[in-house]
């Protein structure tokens, strides 16, 4: 049955993938179209790309998005991995496990707007104690880390669950210290899970809109916020140019990451 030819499967699949890419392709086409308004084809140009290179606001927003994604992913990966290790390697009582599972699963089963509201509440209360919680890049990073931690933990935990005890015991038999055991045995074994979790966290950060919308300040506009606020005036072709650049950059990044993980594994 598996080897049977099923042309309609291919047809639907290609159709679905076509639909997924149609918006991105349209954006790429309009990014080289020589007209500011209207959608008819007016000839090929790269002037939106040169204008983009000179547009401070857009570049600053793009930079903010990248800094936010990179910093929050790094923090969330460390915290999420620590959480997964702490849960897996320590003899927690059953009741504690139940409560902790509930806390970890909350970001998965609660819509992101509720997370955004929760963060707004937390920031407004914590602002009494420290200016660290004023809306800005700091609050954006805290917000993103909050929804990323759980996803990293879940991925790393599923990886930890597949490890067998014997490897640990063999290392111990050979007089490995706890540090050595972690550094040379456990860490290399969970690396694919950690990388997968980090990649997921990075993707979630780049794709997020709602939490950024609630947690951003006037000085920390990220790309999605910038785009959303300029929607009413209509988007300029520079935004299409930027989206195309980002898409190409991510495609290259994904392919590179895939190559690297294949080498590690």
């Amino acid at each position: 049955m598996k080897t049977q030819k099923r042309p309609w499967l291919a047809l639907i699949s290609v159709g679905v993938i076509f639909l997924l890419y149609l918006p991105s392709v349209a954006v790429a086409v309009f990014s080289v179209n020589d007209t500011k308004f209207g959608l008819s084809w007016k000839g090929f140009t790269l002037r939106w790309y040169t204008q983009l290179a000179n547009n401070e606001y857009i570049l600053q927003a793009a930079l903010n998005s990248l800094i936010l994604a990179a910093v929050s992913t790094a923090l969330a990966t460390i915290l999420g991995t620590a959480l997964a290790l702490g849960l897996d390697r320590a003899p927690w009582p059953k009741s504690a496990h139940k409560v902790i599972d509930l806390i970890i699963n909350l970001p998965v089963v609660v819509p992101d707007i509720i997370m955004a509201v929760a963060l707004t509440l937390a920031f407004s209360a914590l602002r009494f104690f420290s200016s660290l919680f004023d809306l800005g890049l700091g609050s954006l990073i805290i917000g993103h880390v909050t929804f990323q931690i759980s996803f990293v933990t879940l991925v790393v935990r599923s990886r930890l669950a597949t490890l067998n005890k014997e490897t640990d015991e063999a290392a111990r038999d050979l007089y490995a210290s706890s540090f050595y055991l972690f550094y040379r045995v456990t860490l290399p074994l969970i690396t694919p899970g950690v990388l997968a979790g980090a990649m997921m966290a990075f993707t979630l950060s780049l794709d997020d809109f709602i939490i950024s919308f609630f947690a951003h300040g006037p000085e920390s506009v990220t790309l999605p916020i910038f785009i959303y606020s300029s929607l009413k005036r209509g988007l300029s072709p520079e935004i299409y140019a930027l989206s195309t650049v980002m898409l190409l950059a991510t495609v290259i990044l994904v392919i590179a990451a895939e190559r690297i993980t294949r080498k590690i594994a």
Binding site: V16, I103, D112, T146, D207
Partner: protein, 304 residues
């Protein structure tokens, strides 16, 4: 850690004292747990207290015990009863439900196609599904506005079929909204489902077909139970964010389609009515968790 190397208690995880291992566990898990508690769990609990407070004259929270916001949720206000808020909640629920259903219907053929590719190209297909994800949802949704505009072939074709006025766009409307929703959420469902489809035991499908099972019977009795783990994860991660989505409906649905997401955002934004916003958030949370509970309660064994 390394300096304790000589102590006997280090050899097996089992031999080192439970207390010490717990301490290590706490040192690792404590900070991230504290983070989640401070920024998510406790504020979520605080929503209950705020929903029971009222809005002051200047948008401040007046603490107390007042059910006025809960009543407003069900449509009771100073001006009598209206179904507005209930209707908005139900519309969000319906949108999420239909979006998830369409994603399921499209994901099965897609994942079956991907899973039957040779192992080398399989990764390529999976990456192909993920890549659009990396363009932010606001940009992708706005791009649909371009694609569906009257000057371009899709709208012209539909107009040629006589389904819309010539020169009209394919937005705003439910067609555009569902197109945007499904293309936004499809990878959420397809990726977990794919993990299950790749582990499928094809012999069972073949055996069922050999025994003259109809196509529907093959699906219900061999495919559905085997792919249930992936499918159920996919349904949860699709349905939950779809409930609160308002970017897609804002951009593609026109001004008329108010969603619970818009409403909550308004209360914490321009309206500055945090107590009512908290009540709406609680309603959304209850509705989402209730849907998931009903879904979890479904015994798939009943289907086959």
């Amino acid at each position: 850690m390394a300096k304790n190397h000589s102590s006997v208690a280090k050899f097996f995880g089992h031999i080192s004292p439970v207390k010490k291992r717990r301490l290590w566990g706490l040192a690792l898990a404590g900070p991230p747990l504290a983070w989640l508690l401070a920024f998510l769990t406790l504020p979520c609990l605080a929503l209950v207290a705020i929903a029971l407070a009222t809005r002051g004259q200047f948008g401040e929270i007046v603490w107390g015990f007042d059910l006025v916001n809960i009543k407003r949720l069900f449509g009771f206000s100073l001006f009598g009863w209206s179904s507005d808020f209930i209707f908005i909640l139900l519309r969000s629920l319906f949108l999420a439900f239909v979006t998830t259903a369409i994603c399921i219907i499209l994901s099965y053929p897609l994942t079956f196609y991907v899973a039957t590719r040779p192992p080398k190209t399989r990764v390529f297909w999976l990456i192909l599904i993920v890549i659009p994800f990396w363009t932010n949802v606001v940009v992708r949704t706005y791009a649909w506005l371009l694609v569906l505009s009257p000057q371009l072939p899709p709208a012209k074709f539909v107009a040629w079929l006589g389904l819309i006025e010539p020169g009209a766009a394919l937005y705003p409307g439910s067609f555009a909204v569902y197109l945007g929703m499904v293309t936004t959420f499809l990878p959420f469902l397809a990726l977990p489902l794919d993990a299950s489809v790749e582990r499928l035991n094809w012999d069972l499908l073949e055996a069922a077909a050999d025994l003259y099972a109809s196509k529907i019977a093959v699906f219900r009795q061999t495919i559905l139970p085997q792919t249930w783990p992936g499918l159920s994860v996919g349904i949860i991660v699709t349905f939950v964010p779809a409930m609160a989505m308002f970017v897609v409906t804002d951009i593609l649905g026109g001004a008329k389609t108010m969603m619970v997401g818009n409403l909550i955002q308004q209360q914490f934004g321009q309206a500055r009515d945090w107590p009512f916003g908290a009540a709406l958030s609680l309603a959304l949370m209850v509705l989402t968790l209730l849907s998931l509970a009903i879904f979890k309660g479904l015994k798939i064994e009943k289907f086959y």
